[in-house]
């Protein structure tokens, strides 16, 4: 058994090593060079990762939860906020997910970013992100969660906009930050409400007080409302922003502008799961409000199906995976909504491995295809990049839930929980989830088939053309125009190469995770030993979890059946009968456009938020400030005075003296008044 002192040292090392690495790489930057920056940041992360596993295994073995106060942050009246590092099993799960994926992504980036001129900055940002994320999950109070919450938002902003010269990149970065701020707006109000209700922001104290607060009401926006429900919903608004749930999801697909390792770390495995973590951390609060839980369930289910439908039509390989992430986060939320917090965390845990794997594989494909991301220009890649191919197949069988892979265990427990909850919302979530699973299987295999099978369609890609041209020199530039209109098939003489070893090692490690993490950890998260594992940290209903093992046969087999249907459909459409997809699109043009344009959310928001805001801004400025306040205020006065021009001139040129005079008169008046009274 580890001593408390030892755990305190370890957790500090885990959290602050990435911060130190960030400072060294960030401030040192070009002065210390690429190699030093890479070694410092990656080294720090591997140490953090090793220590995290030590702590996690200790916790599984029954080590007690601990809370280490590092320093006071701020206090005012009865509001007191500390910097703390909390270690319990929920934190432990997040610690291993964050540091493992982060360490592997750091390593992977050695290869992926090898040609980038700005590497120290990139690695510094990655480490900064990791630090903020660790602060988030080790918080024992809501304000520190909020610190990490916005900190990861900052890192995400910086990394999405890493290639800042591209207007689309910085636009996506701003969008991510601002949309997240909408969520944070709700989160902040939720914290205020909690402080109002409990007089503290300390999570443990709040959760202990939840039973007492049941049924309490307060006035919110002029209405007498149920306190717990209101607060839970406000916190959930924050979770929706960070975890890209409808309707605050629009930033996530655009976030794919960032380098692919970033997508794997931030926009798949860790940051976007912070919302799920928050709901689980505050599980007694959500459990105390059936209304809030129902909302969580429906929002999760809606997102699961929405994102899955959109994913079936996207051409950009990263966008497919991004929507897939969005959809899987929906699964986690409806699991939490029906009260299966353990299942939600389990899916979060396994998803981190197979989704990071899928993104890193996509990165490897993109790397080998000279930064081409459009699947219409892929095809036949399995021979050229076999290791990536196999890793991606492993990721795909895991996400689609092929038996005994990690996705199989976690997704089934999520779906069974939805069914067994017995509520209407739960049943809706179950059927939605089953249909979303079908689509998941379809779009995941569609990605595999379009990328790795069929004919090579590389010739149509501008990126490939550039690559070929660069290789052949510029003497055959005359052919350039021909290539643009070249038929979509053919290799254009391009030879994709498998990625370097530093990129392949993370793929192999994550492949093991994607295959076996479910089987290994199933018992602890949901499958029998979970009561001791969670140890009261999240709400856990033993009977409910027991019932997951006895679902009706049809429910039991449903995920596997829809997985096979999705696979066969994808095979029929993209391998067996390659022309079918186009025919289908022509037949259902409007449906396709609706899905391809992501249900027109962006257009809608532009029309109802962005444009009116700019219009109002101009209106207030021109009509309010200049047309009204100034016109009838100072300018009007000037005009009146200027009428008797001479006075005005004197007034303006000597205004300091006039002012001094006015003040003197005032002083004199003051003195007179005082003396004669």
């Amino acid at each position: 058994m580890m001593s408390a002192r030892c755990v305190a040292d370890m957790i500090q090392a885990i959290v602050f090593l990435p911060l130190i690495a960030f400072l060294i790489a960030g401030i040192g930057n070009r002065a210390i060079g690429n190699t030093a920056a890479k070694f410092v940041t990656t080294g720090a992360l591997f140490i953090s990762c090793a220590l995290s596993w030590v702590i996690f295994i200790g916790l599984i073995g029954g080590a007690p939860a601990e809370d280490h106060v590092v320093a006071e942050w701020f206090s005012s009246g009865d509001l007191a906020v500390n910097w703390t590092l909390k270690v319990d099993i929920l934190t432990g799960v997040m610690l291993v997910v964050i540091t493992s994926v982060s360490a592997l992504v750091h390593l992977y980036s050695w290869g992926y970013m090898a040609e980038d001129p700005d590497q120290p900055r990139f690695f510094a940002y990655l480490s900064l992100f990791t630090f903020a994320m660790l602060m988030l999950v080790t918080a024992d109070n809501l304000v520190q969660i909020f610190f990490g919450w916005e900190g990861v938002g900052l890192a995400s902003y910086l990394l999405i906009g890493f290639w800042y010269k591209k207007p689309s990149a910085w636009a996506a970065a701003i969008k991510a930050f601002v949309v997240n701020r909408v969520g944070d707006f709700g989160f902040m109000l939720g914290i205020f409400g909690l402080f109002m209700l409990f007089g503290t922001v300390d999570i443990d104290t709040i959760l202990q007080g939840v039973p007492l607060a049941k049924g309490a009401t307060f006035t919110f926006l002029g209405h007498q409302v149920d306190a717990i429900t209101t607060i839970a919903l406000l916190l959930f608004v924050g979770a929706m922003g960070k975890s890209a749930q409808v309707p605050l999801h629009t930033w996530l697909p655009d976030a794919m502008e960032g380098p692919t390792p970033v997508s794997a770390l931030i926009h798949a495995a860790t940051m976007v799961t912070a919302g799920v973590f928050l709901v689980c951390r505050m599980s007694p609060l959500f459990e105390a409000s059936p209304t809030a839980s129902t909302v969580v369930t429906y929002v999760g289910a809606l997102t699961a199906i929405f994102a899955a439908t959109v994913a079936t039509t996207q051409h950009d390989i990263k966008r497919v995976i991004a929507y897939s992430t969005c959809s899987q986060l929906g699964f986690m939320f409806f699991a939490a909504g029906v009260g299966a917090y353990g299942a939600a965390m389990f899916h979060l845990f396994t998803h981190a491995f197979f989704k990071a794997l899928l993104f890193l594989c996509a990165g490897s494909v993109i790397h080998s295809m000279h930064h081409e991301q459009d699947m219409r220009y892929y095809g036949a890649l399995r021979k050229s990049i076999p290791l990536t191919f196999w890793a991606m197949v492993i990721g795909t069988i895991a996400i689609t839930g092929v038996n005994y892979t990690s996705g199989y265990f976690s997704k089934d427990s999520v779906l069974f929980a939805a069914w067994e909850s017995g509520t209407e919302a739960g049943r809706v979530a179950f059927f939605t989830g089953i249909f979303a699973s079908l689509l998941t299987s379809f779009y995941s295999w569609r990605l595999i088939f379009k990328t790795f099978f069929g004919e090579a369609r590389w010739a149509g890609s501008e990126h490939i053309q550039h690559a070929v041209h660069d290789a052949h020199g510029h003497d055959d530039h005359a052919h350039h125009d021909d290539h643009h209109h070249a038929p979509a098939t053919g290799t254009a003489g391009y030879h994709p190469h498998e990625s370097p070893i530093v990129m392949l090692i993370p793929l192999v490690v994550l492949s093991f995770g994607a295959l076996f993490a479910g089987a290994i950890f199933n018992d602890w998260f949901v499958g029998g030993a979970e009561h001791a594992f969670w140890n009261g940290v999240i709400v856990h209903d033993g009977e409910f979890f027991e019932s997951l093992h006895h679902v009706p046969a049809l429910v039991h087999w449903a995920p596997a059946i829809v997985m096979l249907i999705g696979l066969t459909t994808a095979w029929a459409v993209y391998i067996r009968n390659p022309g079918f997809a186009d025919t289908f699109v022509k037949q259902f043009r409007q449906l396709h456009a609706f899905l391809y344009n992501k249900w027109y959310f962006d257009e809608l928001y532009r029309a109802i938020f962005v444009k009116p805001a700019l219009w109002l801004g101009r209106f207030f400025w021109k009509v309010g400030d200049q047309g009204t306040i100034d016109r009838f205020g100072p300018d009007g006065l000037t005009a009146v005075v200027a009428h008797g021009s001479v006075v005005a001139k004197r007034f303006q040129s000597g205004l300091v003296y006039s002012y001094a005079l006015v003040m003197l008169i005032g002083v004199a008046a003051f003195a007179t008044w005082f003396m004669v009274r």
């Binding site: 900052l154 800042y164 002012y659």
Partner: protein, 513 residues
């Protein structure tokens, strides 16, 4: 000590005006005298800090001398509230002198003298304990500011300083009348005595409105804010820094020193005016900031939005609200000064404030980009920077008064991110579309010397603000005790955890909207 901090810069301002030698030599000597003096004052400020007793709400370092046969007195002293603002002033002043080191080339001795005089007046405002003395400093402090805008300003400097003058005049006259009445009734000019004097409730309303006219202009609050964007746009960099950093704080200081303790009943009765104006200000000026094409105007409008958090927090009448308002003032003092300096840095190179003339500046000025980004984040209240602590505390406090106000003001969190990040992106990101902008060199040593202290303080206040909060506790507590008699509306609650289930009853006056 306080007298020395006022008289020393005044004396040196005079010395600077009468320097011998040719133009260049005078300019150089003046700059060094200016820097030396302000640094010396900063050291004196630190000395104050080391000897400051945070456990008491009483005024410290008091000095008193009767002037004009007892008509009024040279009465100085500070409590925690005035102390932190003096600390802010002496911290920013040397940086302002450095900021204008190279860019101001004409009439340098006068320029330095104006800054030294302004520093003296500002310290005077924050430390005077005599109503009459306060009035003199409060009004006289603006004269150097007029000069700075009017002489070293941009093209429309006359218009800007004129507008500034008209607004201020309006407020001052009313405040002066109110002061005369007060002294007549209370029979004293002593501020601590007036703070404890109970004016008739009916009279308080008029007195409050008169003082409010003056302080609202200084803050500035919507709708008397329109002088600020013009003043900032025309002022030289250092002028903007000191205007945003220190002068705007006089309004907030006035409210907390005069309006709240002297007219508690009126403050509570009229709080809805302040809260309503604050709500409007946040949304209105944030939206206006969104569409600005001039960098300085954008930041000026954002200042109005930030100051609304100060007024909102003060009129929440609780510890979190008032302390939060103070921290917002300190943070805004540092961060807005820093942002105006950031604008100044590239203005010095390209001589335009138009956002569209820049673009892709990160490529040629990466170090500058780091600082600009840090201050942008501090401005939009990212946790871990100074901006967060104050806004969070202020909003926590306001929640106890009315959730609508919090709801509306917190939208500033979203809009603030939108306009600041868009500004940053248009200047720093994208392609380098203009050759002259692409050729700008990165920060020089002098600019580093200004940026670094500002950055350190912005982070320090964000991560460990305790040293800045400590002096505030005692005076804010005594202010709360003073306000109790007016029975400010607060949603009453007993923390649920400490006791058995409690009814969360809204207090009679609270949440009636």
């Amino acid at each position: 000590m306080l007298s020395a901090m006022i008289l020393l810069p005044l004396a040196l301002a005079l010395v600077v005006l009468f320097l011998p030698g040719d133009e260049a030599a005078k300019a150089r000597t003046a700059r060094y005298i200016g820097l030396g003096t302000t640094l010396l004052l900063f050291l004196m400020g630190l000395l104050l800090w080391s000897r400051f007793d945070t456990s008491t709400a009483a005024f410290q370092f008091t000095e008193r001398a009767e002037l004009f046969g007892g008509l009024f007195s040279w009465h100085l002293g500070i409590d925690g509230i005035s102390f932190v603002l003096i600390l802010l002033t002496v911290f920013l002043m040397p940086l302002c002198i450095l900021a204008g080191w190279d860019s101001v080339k004409t009439r340098v001795p006068e320029y330095i003298a104006a800054f030294l005089a302004m520093e003296a007046m500002t310290i005077g405002v924050f430390s005077s304990l005599d109503l009459f003395l306060f009035y003199i400093f409060f009004e006289a402090g603006l004269i150097p500011m007029y000069l700075i805008i009017g002489i070293w300003g941009g093209k429309r400097r006359i218009y800007a300083s004129y507008k500034f003058f008209l607004y201020t005049l309006l407020g001052s006259v009313l405040m002066l009348l109110a002061m005369l009445w007060m002294v007549r009734v209370a029979g004293t000019t002593d501020i601590p005595a007036l703070m404890a004097y109970d004016f008739p409730v009916k009279a308080q309303t008029w007195l409050w409105l008169a003082f409010f006219a003056s302080f609202a202009v200084k803050m500035p609050m919507w709708p008397v804010h329109t002088w600020l964007p013009d003043a900032h746009v025309e002022a030289p960099t250092a002028g903007s820094m000191i205007l945003a950093g220190v002068l705007l704080k006089m309004g907030g200081y006035g409210l907390i020193r005069f309006s709240l303790p002297m007219f508690p009943e009126a403050s509570v009765q009229l709080m809805w005016i302040v809260l309503a104006l604050s709500m409007i200000a946040v949304v209105y000026t944030s939206l206006v900031a969104l569409v600005q094409a001039d960098m300085k105007k954008l930041i000026a409008y954002s200042s109005v939005a930030h100051m609304a958090f100060v007024t909102g927090g003060l009129f929440a009448f609780n510890t979190q609200g008032v302390e939060g308002a103070m921290v917002v003032m300190l943070s805004h003092g540092v961060v807005s000064a820093a942002l105006f300096f950031c604008v100044g840095v590239i203005y010095d190179r390209l001589h335009t404030r138009e956002i569209d003339r820049y673009g892709g500046v990160t490529t040629n000025m990466p170090r500058y980009a780091i600082f600009f980004l840090l201050f942008t984040m501090a401005s939009i209240a990212l946790p871990g920077t100074s901006g967060f602590v104050g806004e969070f505390m202020a909003l926590t406090g306001i929640w106890k008064v009315n959730t609508w106000v919090v709801f509306v003001m917190a939208t500033g969190v979203i809009l603030g991110a939108a306009y600041m990040l868009w500004l940053f992106a248009r200047v720093m990101y994208g392609a380098q579309k203009n050759a002259d902008a692409a050729a700008m060199p990165d920060l020089n040593k002098r600019e580093w010397a200004v940026m670094l202290p500002l950055a350190v303080v912005a982070l320090w206040m964000g991560v460990y603000p305790k040293p800045f909060l400590a002096p505030l506790k005692a005076p804010v507590a005594s202010l709360m005790a003073r306000l109790d008699r007016a029975d400010p509306p607060q949603t009453q609650f007993t923390p649920l955890v400490a006791s058995a289930p409690v009814q969360l009853a809204a207090a009679s006056a609270g949440e009636t909207k």
